[in-house]
Amino acid sequence: MKGVASRLGQMVLVLFGISVLVFAVFFATPGSDPSVRIAGRGASPEVIERVRHAYGFDRPLPMRYLTMMDHLFISRNLTSYVNHGQNVVSEVFAAAPVTLSLVLWAALFWVAGALVFGLIGAAFQGEWIDRLVSLLALIGLSIPVFWLGEMVNLVSESRFHDSWLFSWVPPLGYVPFMTSPLGWAKALILPAMTLAVAFIGLYSRVLRTDLLTAMQDDALRTARAKGVGPWRLWFCHALRLSGLSALSLFGLDFAQLLGGGALLIEVVFALPGVGHLTYQGLSTLDLPLIMATVLYAAFFVVIANALIDGLYRLLDPRMGRGSHDG
């Protein structure tokens, strides 16, 4: 119980630190005055002064921090600087399902791809197929995701749209699941695959290394001495032993994507998710909007981390169960 409490305390501390950091980035960066930005270029000092007062930028920083946090998390009525009256928090929550759908699809592809390529690489260690897979993984890691998205669009929407392979691809955009489950899937498959490419590259490499390490383990020698067949050996023993470290990595990346790491893909494929919302905020310099998305994203990462940590403890009996008696 004590461990849980101290972890919770640490989490709260990290969350507080993040909120201060993000607030400071947006409102206390030296030399960057938000009132000047809102007033526009070349505004007269009087106008800037009026803006400063109207937005409360002349109040002390701690006060402004507290007000901002209240607007964001307690009263949840933070309004945009650009579209007056637009509630930022509700916008973020409205965009969340799009991002969630995208990231879930991507996770599906990336876990499957990483498993396939990681197992192939490990099982054929040193052979040409292993080298090929390693090279592909390295290339996957090296492609800028937004460029790949553009290329996918080019191929699927324009050049080969009429071929049998891509004729099913719908125009860019999002279809809610409730409207049409099939349309939802169609709209998300290509963006999700694009998003997954880099992660497949990363995770197949991690998994290959971990599997090869696990294969050297004493427990795997026991399994072989037991007469376990190769499929069982790889899937039930080696993967079970090595999958855990990949799992904690997976949790972190999954949370980062959910929190807006998928911004570039959402922009390229015109999916109205949280990342796209941030992008809109960028073009209009809507600080509350950007701050809300960034802060929610960071909080999400911290909470997801804690959850993964708990899951890890559940799956790896060696950790944190010292006093277990059952």
Partner: protein, 315 residues
């Protein structure tokens, strides 16, 4: 049933591409009902011999013959090996902590082996596991089966390991340093258990570096030095009248149980040859106090009856 050869290894050689010659002509026989102690220093190839019997030796060139109950193991396909391992010959390892998969409970790991080799239902296999654990002297076997490896003591883990090895009624049990990682009191218990198994259930090949363990629990012994078996025979004869100079030196290096302690235990000068610099002749010749010119040629095993040694001094 005793007397019939179960496993006979002859002139087993293993050459590894990087490490060199690991096994340099190992010959030994395990008869049914026997507990054969395979004794040697680390690096002498005793564990490799055990692993080779299950086809688990590291990649390398293997030559020689391995016969198990009349079957030629060197001709086994990977499918044959899978049916053989765990079913007809099983192995237990030095460190039961690392030998079990740490993320699964003990019971299911044993059940897995039973289900791989027999058509037993899940329920039946589980009951069998509990009875096996009980037979191995594990207190409250049902609860123990539900534990994770790290939740058990070293002795219990090794008992569970032995239970797993015996779960498919193998004819041969290979125990690779089964007591090295355990406390002294627990060591004795495990050795007693192995002795009982040797008497009742399966032949045992007990790999150890400890002559004391051999004396305590084996019926026969094979002494390995630098990848070669240099002396074999019934334990009592070998201990009382060792033939090979190496065995003699080895026995002298054990502190006496009674009488005054010697100031210093006698040591053997020099170090065993490394795998890439094996001598052509007798492997012990460079360190042997009684070396003769004849030692430049590898001596064959000679002697009377079951007690034989590979030394020119043996009549």
């Amino acid at each position: 049933m005793t007397g019939e050869a179960l496993l006979s290894v002859s002139d087993l050689r293993l050459q590894h591409r990087q490490a060199g010659i690991l096994l340099d002509g190992v010959s030994l026989t395990v008869k049914r009902g026997q507990i054969l102690g395979v004794v040697g220093e680390s690096g002498s190839g005793k564990s490799l011999t055990g692993l080779s019997v299950l086809g688990l030796q590291p990649q390398g060139q293997l030559s020689g013959t391995l016969r198990f109950d009349g079957e030629d193991l060197t001709r086994f396909s990977s499918r044959d090996w899978r049916r053989f391992r765990g079913r007809r010959a099983a192995m237990i390892f030095q460190d039961p902590m690392t030998a079990f998969l740490p993320v699964r409970r003990i019971g299911p790991q044993i059940v897995e082996q039973i289900r791989v080799h027999t058509a037993l239902s899940h329920q039946a296999a589980r009951e069998r596991v509990v009875s096996l654990l009980g037979r191995m002297g594990v207190p409250s076997p049902e609860q123990t089966a539900q534990r994770f490896p790290h939740e058990l003591s070293g002795g219990l883990r090794q008992r569970a390991m032995i239970a797993m090895a015996l779960s498919c009624d193998p004819e041969l049990l290979i125990a690779d340093e089964p007591t090295t990682a355990l406390d002294v009191t627990v060591q004795t218990q495990i050795l007693t258990l192995l002795k009982e198994i040797g008497a009742r259930e399966a032949s045992v090949m007990l790999i150890t570096h400890d002559m004391g363990v051999v004396a305590q629990s084996c019926t026969d012994v094979a002494v390995l030095y630098a990848g070669v078996v240099i002396e074999t025979g019934p334990v009592a004869e070998v201990l009382q009248a060792p033939l090979h100079p190496y065995t003699k030196a080895l026995l002298r290096a054990i502190p006496p149980m009674t009488g005054s302690r010697p100031e210093r235990l006698p040591v053997i000068d020099g170090v065993p040859p490394s795998p890439d610099t094996r001598p052509v002749g007798c492997v012990f010749a460079p360190r042997c106090p009684q070396v003769t010119p004849d030692c430049a040629i590898r001596p064959p095993m000679r002697g009377e009856g079951a007690h034989r040694a590979a030394c020119v001094l043996v009549p």
